[in-house]
């Protein structure tokens, strides 16, 4: 009886606290709205949530790492617990990462979790974006959120790049050297801009400490602001949903925020954390001690960056040498097109796509709350798959030296094959995808049955797809 009384007392007390808050904020009425907010349910809608949860754990593990990392280029002599590097000269930054990895209990776990989370963060953003693209979720009224999303992708790639460059190891140092050269190559402002960003001619002592500011302050602040805007817009416009029984353009069907969705999303968040924790514990990632400290005259081959910058690396490897001068006063550096124009164009097309599609492909300006299927608009399916193939070919081209070894051909042949694949691959795959979408619309899934004289796709040696004609 005693405990029962205490329980009632507690309930009454917490109720009084909520009343106190409500008198000051009017919280009850918006809590009602919030708790009744309905979430449509489909596995693919969780991809964006996964990205969000990755960001949460990035912040959490990141704060921990910040307490140990020293963004300092001062040269020190190492006498720590990793014997193979004993007596070597290295930056204080690199040493602090070694100490964090070998001397701080659970330090290595949190560092590896942080790196895995970064990879999964970008991966889930891209998958989420593909879901949004192929289901036409970017159409009116959600164009603004598409734009925010593309910006978030760019920032996430920047966050990843600045992050894995911080340890000042040989691998990432080489990546930074290339980044410096990319800035240097921008016409008219390049040299000055590179000197302002890096504090002088490469290699500079300011590089690591400035990167650190970008990585732990500027980029996260921007990302947090944009995630906030992204979520606010979703709340305002409500989530789109696939067509289904009882679902219309004017309603939302699904689970209420409280209690089911709150439990479910928190559960999903914890599972994402769990996967990252297990990966961080069991699967080694970025063993910087194996690469050694950065030295301007040393390079490791083959050097592969994190996977999401691979396409930029591939673009640099495939793009033919185009460099010309107009008088002695202007030179077009060979590095400019593959490193600035190519990604610039890719992101520009992504930003513009919702408007391009309306204007030139579908002429559909109406509001849509019910999603398309990936085959609903063949042109969109084709463009999407073409873009995907382009990114895919560039990404594997980022490892063309490894590929050449695997296929036992010369690096020059490999480069030429990939150059062709980067142009032909998207066209072939895009065309095939559009045709397949048309067929799917006409005949449903029957198109996959063998007696159908439909299209078949076969993966070719370059990793692209080719169409195997009608038989």
């Amino acid at each position: 009886m005693k405990t029962e009384e205490r329980k009632l007392d507690l309930i009454a007390k917490s109720k009084r606290q909520r009343e106190w808050l409500d008198e000051r904020l009017g919280s009850a009425s918006w809590a009602v709205k919030g708790m009744r907010y309905v979430f449509p349910d489909h596995w693919s809608f969780l991809l964006g949530e996964v990205a969000l949860f990755c960001f949460v754990i990035l912040v959490a593990t990141g704060i921990y790492l910040t307490l140990f990392f020293r963004p300092d280029s001062t040269e020190v002599i190492y006498h720590g617990s990793y014997a193979p590097l004993d007596g070597q000269e290295m930056s204080a930054a690199y040493k602090s990462v070694l100490d964090l990895s070998f001397n701080v209990r659970m330090g290595l776990l949190f560092r590896q979790m942080h790196h895995w989370a970064a990879n999964i963060f970008v991966t889930s953003i891209i998958l989420h974006q593909m879901r949004v693209f192929f289901t036409g979720a970017f159409r009116r009224p959600r164009e603004l959120n598409w734009i925010i999303g593309v910006t978030l992708l760019i920032l996430a790639i920047g966050l990843g790049f600045t992050g894995y460059s911080l340890p000042d190891d040989l691998l990432s140092g080489t990546g930074l050297r290339i980044a410096y050269s990319v800035v240097l190559g921008i016409p008219f402002i390049g040299p000055w801009l590179a000197y302002l960003l890096f504090g002088g001619e490469w290699p500079t002592p300011a590089t690591i400490s400035r990167l650190f500011v970008f990585h732990v302050m500027l980029l996260p602040a921007l990302i947090i602001a944009l995630i906030g805007a992204h979520l606010l817009l979703i709340m305002r416009q409500h989530h789109a949903d696939f067509p289904g029984p009882g679902k219309t353009e004017r309603n939302v069907v699904g689970q209420p925020a409280w209690p089911s969705q709150a439990l479910k999303s928190t559960g999903l968040m914890l599972i994402v954390f769990a996967v990252i924790a297990i990966l961080g514990g069991l699967v080694q990632i970025n063993p910087v001690w194996a690469y050694g400290p950065y030295r301007a005259w040393v390079v490791s081959a083959p050097a592969q960056p994190d996977w999401y910058v691979g396409w930029l690396e591939g673009s640099l490897r495939l793009f033919p040498a185009v460099e010309f001068s107009i008088t002695k006063w202007f030179t077009w550096p060979t590095i400019f097109a593959p490193s600035v124009l190519v990604p610039g164009l890719v992101f520009l097309v992504m930003y513009m796509y919702p408007f391009i599609e309306k204007r030139f492909l579908t002429h559909d300006y109406a509001e849509h709350n019910l999603l398309d299927y990936p085959y609903s608009v063949p042109a969109r399916a084709g463009i999407g798959m073409a873009g995907f193939t382009f990114g895919f070919v560039l990404t594997i081209a980022g490892g063309n030296d490894v590929l050449a070894q695997v296929f036992n051909i010369s690096i020059y042949e490999m480069t030429w094959i990939l150059r062709v694949a980067a142009i032909v691959g998207p066209i072939v795959v895009g065309y095939a995808a559009a045709k397949l979408a048309e067929a799917l619309q006409r005949e449903g899934l029957g198109v996959f049955r063998s007696h159908q004289p439909g299209l078949q796709l076969r993966r070719n040696a370059e990793g692209g797809f080719e169409e195997v004609g009608e038989h």
Binding site: P141, G190, W192, N251, A262, L270, F273, G281, W297, L316
Partner: protein
């Protein structure tokens, strides 16, 4: 979930009980793992075990919550109407009229001044960014090599011509500047007869010993692979390939400019030294790289 629509929802007791068991087991696993993690932290430090325990602690809680949400709660799908996003014509008109406050919109001159003041202020606030780095000036056109700079390897040893073999390359710096990013060069020995250098570089080699900038003219990676048979330098970053015999011209790859050559000589004491700076600006191209030509 869509089965809820238009159908009567009944609580499935069996599913509920199963769910409850799952929640129980998951939460128990989570608690055990958390406790284990604490114990383990105190006594050891083994990344693999830490990761698995942390994963179980988080995952157990997560799976339990999801089972609770779906199997135990079994809440039927809710339907919510979508509100019209656009405001009513009235609200729009009111907003327009409020926005169009004559004290603001009619004061064209004040508005222009405001814009001008704001723009100037922005410029004044951006200018301090120039403190972030020096003006490039001529620094991209010069390195530490001077006439008479003696050649040292990465450990600071002076080099005599007879130290240099024909199989490998040596990374060199001007004496006193080991590690310099822009002055690094590679040194190798080739058959003097096979050289096809331009006439003005005839005396830039010593007994077939020849040196080039080690900074790739594509994106600045150190060019550190040498094919001694083909007499080619290969950059590992994007595979630009340079011919050692003809003045560092590009054979393949995304680089365009040849590797700048370092003119060599032997000083009075018999050590290798430079006749001067590289034949041109080192490293990747930039827009006014040829301005001194």
């Amino acid at each position: 979930m869509s089965d809820a629509i238009g159908q009567e929802q009944r609580y499935d007791n069996e599913r509920g009980a199963r769910g409850q068991r799952l929640v129980l087991v998951s939460f128990a696993i989570s608690m055990l793992a958390s406790a284990g993690l604490i114990v383990f932290y105190v006594f050891s430090g083994w990344t693999q075990v830490e990761g698995v325990l942390l994963g179980l602690a988080l995952g157990g809680l997560g799976i339990g919550m999801i089972a609770w949400s779906t199997d135990v709660l079994q809440i039927p799908d809710h339907v919510e109407d979508r509100a019209e996003l656009r405001s009513s014509e009235e609200a729009r008109a009111t907003a327009e009229s409020l926005l169009d406050s004559p004290g603001i919109t009619r004061r064209t001159m004040l508005l222009r001044l405001l814009g001008g003041a704001g723009g100037l202020l922005a410029a004044a606030l951006v200018v301090p960014a120039l403190s972030l780095g020096p003006h490039p000036g001529q620094s991209l056109f010069r390195t530490k090599w001077r006439r008479g700079s003696r050649v040292v390897d990465a450990d600071g040893n002076l080099l005599r011509p007879d130290y240099i073999g024909i199989k490998s390359i040596t990374t060199i710096f001007p004496e006193g500047h080991v590690g310099s990013g822009d002055s690094q060069a590679v040194l190798m020995r080739v058959d003097p007869e096979s050289l096809q250098l331009p006439p003005d570089r005839k005396n830039w080699t010593v007994e077939g010993i020849i040196a080039y900038s080690k900074v790739c003219t594509h994106a600045g990676c150190p060019v550190n692979l040498y094919r001694s048979q083909a007499r080619e330098l290969l950059c590992p970053c994007h595979q630009s390939t340079f011919n050692v015999l003809d003045g560092g011209q590009v054979v393949f790859g995304p680089a365009k400019r040849p590797l700048p050559q370092l003119p060599l000589m032997v000083d009075d004491e018999g050590y290798l030294a430079a006749r001067g700076d590289f034949s041109g600006p080192i490293g990747p191209s930039f827009w006014d790289i040829h301005k001194n030509d």
